[in-house]
């Protein structure tokens, strides 16, 4: 992997970003047949250009495409992998839903699902590194009805093979940082052993940076698997839990993507709060092994609030960077293999 230089404490996002209001209107118009495929594609491209630029202006060193083309993290892949069928909308909380898929036939990779997304992102971003999030095999299986396969385990490993092909296609297209999203990972502790194996299967044979994002989970269940998971970064959510369980990252021998702002709360954290959180986590992680990000995808926030939260991240991080710079710690590199013990 080509060495890419980054400022110390690189700022990234988890993946999703609030969709511009006009994009949501375009999506609705497309569903009603009022605009054609080409128009929609142009709208998606314009939306990506604008949110990538926005992230960069706000100080994000490693932007994503904001998942502008994705409605929901499992839906997007279930729509594109052969063997899935949608059963209808199921509530996740309050009045929020997702279209729940079921696996009703043998699963097959139909071809790249995220490569075009990546290529467009790469073409509009001026940052040396960009992030492509991809939903992990365990979460896709866990959020689906398993009908065709005998067990969730069998289905998960089939999905892992497909995700592996997808990640290899991304690598071939030039992606240098992918992030496997597994919010469901710790929900059935008794399944962790094989779930971790399935994730490793999904990332096998890659020579690019692979992160793993796990959120709203019991990290004590994840902890025993830090070394077993073949990834170079864990992006974890800590603002939501008031930075209270930092002890749980002791023993993490790879990088930490540290969540410093809560994405389910419209209250905007101050730069001072971000700074304090980073200083606190530096008692547990070396600066070279620390990335800064929001807790999770920003898509549920009003765009204005998401912007303000990123601004706080930038100012808070800059303050800590200044302190580190005084000690001669100035930059880091995007690495596919790390040693943070």
């Amino acid at each position: 992997m080509k060495e890419i230089e980054l400022p110390i404490l690189p700022i990234s996002v988890i993946g999703s970003y609030p969709k511009p209001k006009w994009l949501r209107e375009a999506i609705r118009a497309r569903a009603e047949g009022k605009i054609d495929e080409a128009h929609m594609e142009e709208a998606y491209n314009d939306a990506v250009s604008s949110v990538v630029r926005e992230q960069e202006l706000l100080g994000v060193d490693i932007p994503s495409d904001g998942e502008m083309r994705r409605e929901e993290m499992v839906e997007y892949f279930a729509e594109r992998i052969e063997g899935f069928k949608f059963f209808g909308k199921v509530r996740v909380w309050g009045n929020n839903y997702f279209r729940k898929p079921g696996i009703v036939g043998p699963l097959k990779w139909r071809g790249p699902m995220t490569v075009e997304e990546f290529k467009f992102l790469r073409s509009v971003s001026t940052s040396p590194a960009v992030k492509v999030p991809i939903t992990g095999p365990y979460t896709i299986a866990d959020w689906s009805y398993i009908i065709y396969y005998k067990s969730k385990e069998e289905a998960t490993f089939e999905i892992a093979k497909i995700i592996n092909r997808e990640l290899k296609a991304l690598e071939e297209a030039g992606a240098n940082f992918v992030q496997v999203d597994e919010p469901a990972l710790t929900t059935h502790p008794e399944e962790m052993e094989w779930a971790v194996e399935a994730i490793n299967e999904a990332v096998r044979g890659l020579n690019i940076k692979v992160g793993l994002h796990v959120c709203y989970s019991d990290y004590r269940i994840l902890k025993p698997y830090y070394d077993k998971l073949k990834v170079s970064q864990f992006a974890l959510e800590f603002a939501n839990r008031g930075f209270s369980d930092l002890e749980v990252i002791r023993g993490l021998n790879v990088e930490l993507g540290f969540g410093v702002v809560d994405v389910h709360n419209r209250f905007v954290e101050s730069p001072e709060a971000v700074e304090a959180a980073i200083l606190k986590v530096l008692n547990y992680v070396k600066p070279e092994c620390l990335y800064i990000n929001p807790d999770c995808g920003l898509k549920l926030l009003p765009r204005k609030i998401a912007r303000e939260k990123l601004r706080s991240i930038k100012i808070g991080t800059e303050r800590v960077r200044k302190k580190l710079n005084e000690k001669g710690i100035i930059k880091t590199y995007l690495k596919s293999e790390v040693n943070c013990s």
């Binding site: 996740v92 909380w93 997702f98 469901a184």
Partner: protein, 327 residues
């Protein structure tokens, strides 16, 4: 043996119900209009259940986000952050307990009251009021007021649930459905589950003329038989989820612990695929062999995990499969 079918907990929101919630949230309709329209939907739902032969049902809880949702307005505990509801991709808001728990006449009572009033008086006996159980309340609470789980449990039971049931009873409900998945959860200590079982027994004893269905779900193990046996009363029925590996073993064990009535969680609310008729009928026979004098069959858990069309399909299938066999 008496056999009946029963609908428990929440029914998934369809597009129209979901729209009503959006309109209420955005302030485009007021609370009164919201409730009126929701109750019209609920009446339609229970009308279908009634005609399918269900002997008991809830209002489908179309007005509430989840079983813990009414708690905030009725107890003074704040609605906190989102927490996962067991091993589902479904989240509830944790009650934040910062002060003494008490029962207050909050606006959630409106929903119960209006629904009850909208239902023809002669058929009101078929309605159940769903409420959360004390162990489940402790499990999901973010408590900074009480110094122990035992104290918190006691407070939820005696300061909140008993007055709540009293109130609902005075409004006209005679049947209650206590959602208590945490009493069979591995995440909860044996001591707390045992205390919880005893407390439930006490609560049931305070309302001897009323029917209580104690709904447990998502887990079952033989060790839980002991805690659950404390809640076996003249006026209570235990609900067991048959889709957990030890479901039937627990049912058998309860039959040996003198439970004469049982609720079989026979529709898997986490799968859209309807259960086979032969399977459902086989379960009725199995319960009869175990010597139960009354068997109630219904959904194993709230039905929010499948889309409405599939949920109704399952309920229809249950009616078709077991009612024709009724003797």
């Amino acid at each position: 043996m008496k056999l009946a079918i029963e609908f428990s907990g929440s029914f998934p929101r369809d597009e129209a119900v979901s729209n009503l919630h959006s309109l209420r949230k955005s302030g485009d309709i007021d609370e009164r209009t919201f409730l009126e329209k929701i109750i019209a939907k609920e009446l339609k739902l229970v009308g279908s259940l009634d005609s399918l032969g269900f002997s008991l049902f809830t209002d489908g809880m179309l007005w509430a986000d989840d079983i813990l949702n009414p708690v905030a307005s009725l107890s003074g505990a704040e609605a906190g952050g989102l927490v996962r509801f067991f091993d589902n991709n479904f989240f509830v808001r944790a009650p934040i307990v910062k002060k003494e728990i008490s029962f207050i006449e909050g606006n959630a009572l409106e929903a119960y009251a209006k629904f009850l009033k909208a239902f023809p008086e002669e058929r009101r006996a078929k309605l159940k009021a769903p409420i959360p159980g004390p162990v489940t309340l402790v499990h999901f609470s973010q408590n900074s007021h009480y110094s122990s789980h035992a104290e918190l449990l006691n407070a939820w039971g005696k300061k909140f649930l008993i007055p709540l049931v009293e109130k609902l009873k005075s409004m006209g409900f005679s049947s209650f459905e206590v959602h208590e998945p945490s009493i069979v959860s591995k995440a909860i200590s044996q001591e707390l589950k045992e205390e919880g079982g005893k407390l439930l027994g006490e609560i049931f004893d305070s309302f001897s003329g009323n029917r209580f269905l104690l709904m447990t779900y998502f887990s079952a193990s033989l060790v839980d038989a002991k805690h659950l046996s404390y809640a076996i009363r003249e006026n209570s029925i235990l609900g067991i989820d048959l889709f957990t590996p030890s479901g039937w073993r627990l049912v058998k064990s309860l039959s040996e612990k003198w439970a004469s009535r049982i609720y079989l969680g026979s529709l898997n609310s986490r799968s859209p695929i309807p259960e086979r008729s032969s399977k459902l009928r086989g379960w009725v026979e199995r319960a009869e062999e175990l010597g139960f004098s009354e068997v109630f069959m219904g959904n194993n858990a709230p039905m929010d995990f499948v889309p409405p069309r599939w949920a109704m399909g399952k309920l229809r299938k249950l009616s078709r499969s077991v009612l024709s066999k009724k003797r």
